[in-house]
């Protein structure tokens, strides 16, 4: 009969109408600024730079190797290498970024910079409320704004951060082992040399960092 289906439909929607007032579970909408959906661990928005320790600028892992700058598809990263060097987490002398800018308005969140970075330095952040009144400068962020601590990284992506720390520890251990092996090799060579010419031993310690310093140039 014509009309039965209409009545059935009306009953269904009436159930919805009353149900939304009696049963809050029916309302699927999350009222955003007050309520927030918990972010999933896979959330990725824009990149940030990780630092260790307390001082963001001193602890910055970035070595200004410029791989990310070259790989970035929309070319939104701008890096200027420092003139001087400082000791990085492996105990090796490295450059650091004098300028590190990312234009968030250009960035397409492809995460390629994260994948190519050999120093576990650039990672994806979860912050998404980035609206600004300044259309041009407001989304151009410098290294001070980009620098976020490793604890922050652990908070937003715990599993990934743990893996990253592990990889870094491995690197560090490798570097330490290599340094130790080098020292021992040097010591042995020195001993051998010393055995041959006893005056050569003081030269061994200044030469120690040299093979390690050559290491970061490898991916170029």
């Amino acid at each position: 009969m014509i009309g039965i289906g209409i009545v059935k439909g009306l009953v269904q929607t009436a159930k919805n109408l009353i149900g939304t007032y009696t049963d809050k579970e029916r309302l699927v909408t999350i009222e955003y600024p007050e309520e927030r959906q918990p972010l999933t661990e896979a959330t990725r928005q824009f990149p940030f730079l990780v630092y260790d320790g307390d001082d963001p600028m001193k602890g910055l892992r970035c070595t200004a190797c410029q791989i990310c700058e070259k790989e970035c598809p929309p070319k939104c990263i701008y890096i200027v290498k420092s003139k001087d060097k400082r000791v990085d987490y492996k105990g090796q002398n490295q450059f650091y970024p004098a300028i590190y800018d990312i234009d968030y308005s250009v960035c397409m969140s492809c995460q390629i910079c994260v994948e190519v970075c050999p120093f576990e330095s650039i990672k994806m952040d979860t912050a998404f409320e980035l609206s600004t009144a300044d259309r041009f400068g407001g989304l151009l962020v410098n290294k001070h704004q980009l620098a976020k601590s490793n604890t922050h990284y652990h908070q937003i992506h715990p599993t990934e951060a743990a893996a990253s720390d592990e990889a870094m520890n491995l690197e560090r251990a490798k570097a330490a082992a290599k340094a130790k092996a080098d020292v021992e090799a040097k010591a042995k060579a020195a001993a051998a040399k010393a055995a041959a010419t006893p005056t050569a031993s003081p030269e061994a310690s200044p030469e120690l960092p040299k093979p390690a310093a050559a290491l970061p140039k490898m991916p170029m």
């Binding site: 009969m1 014509i2 009309g3 209409i6 439909g9 009306l10 269904q12 929607t13 009436a14 919805n16 109408l17 149900g19 939304t20 007032y21 029916r26 309302l27 699927v28 909408t29 009222e31």
Partner: protein, 416 residues
Amino acid sequence: MASLDQIFVTLKEQLVQLFPAVLQPYVGVLLSIVAIMAVFPGIFALTTVVERKLLARFQNRPGPNRVGIPLTKIRLAGFGQFAADGIKSLTKEDIIPRNADRKVHFIAPFVLVVPAFLALSVLPIGRNMTALDFPETGLLFFFAIGAATELSVFMAGWSSRNKYSLLGAMRGIAQMLSYEIPLILSSLTVVMMVGSLSLVTIVERQTSVQWGFFHSWHVFTPWGFAGFLLFLTAACAEANRTPFDLPEAESELVAGYFTEYSGFKFALFFLGEYLGMFAISGVAISLFLGGWSAPFTFLDWVPSWLWFFGKLFAFILFFIWLRGTLPRLRVDQLMNLAWKFMLPMCLLNLLVVGVWHFTAEWNELLRWSLATVLLAGPYWLFSRSFEARFKPRTYRYAADSPAAPVVAPVAPQVPI
């Protein structure tokens, strides 16, 4: 309570008395106009918010609940929304397409809104409260004024020089012309029974007491019930409400005939549509639901205008409920419904009214069962033939097996 019932009538009389005798008729007219121009757009403003909120609830959403008083934290459960919408449409740029027919494009919204206000003025919104009473031709005036709606739809659609607009206008006019026939035929039943075209007389006739405790509304008779349902369906189509919102089908025609309107003219179209809905609801109330009369005699102490507006709100809520429930009809389904189901049922209903009129002396039970059988039998038969027609559609190119091309049944075209 009688004073509360007549409070607006006495208020108007008192106000008119303040003016010199020469001006009094004009002031009286002006006061009626101001009242209509203030009350119904006010209801419109409220309806826009209520509609959005209720539609959301029908779909398990909370709906608009943000806009309240500016610069404060008070949210008023979102009921400030209509003010925000109004300010937005008032201040928005009015864009007229370069190729549009500027004059016709300009006039079209007014051709819709002015008759809508005129149609509202014949409604008896309370005891002794009718702004424009035509003792001979009240209902005829309403339908005559309704004709301007079609003209406005055509003007808007044609002058915009937009294909969507023109398509919407064509659909709109076809739909309105088709559904005007069941609308008028179903209201004719009441005219036949009452013997008057005046809405005031029709309402007064329904205030007589039946069986001791309730008023003899026309909807409480077999022909009245059938007529009410037919009128309601046709009214839905005349007011372009879902499931009959083909002329402005958002998913097909952007916004139908007012696609090319923006800013305040768009708001006028919006207002006109809603005023038309209120007017046609008011006529349905006056014809079938006893106008301003209470359903039961023990509720007679409630002021009459409160009953009218209560019923009007019930109608608005029902229309919103329908919109939240039913999907849109296809054009051929729309025409089939009007010409092959509603028109025969309306004609049959006229016959039943005649039978009802001439069997006034019969036993009530016999009379009722005769009228019910006369209406329900053909209804059942029509339903069967409709169900046979509306089998699940099969599509030739979407079918799984390309071997047997299944042609979807082509509905016969009905000339308009």
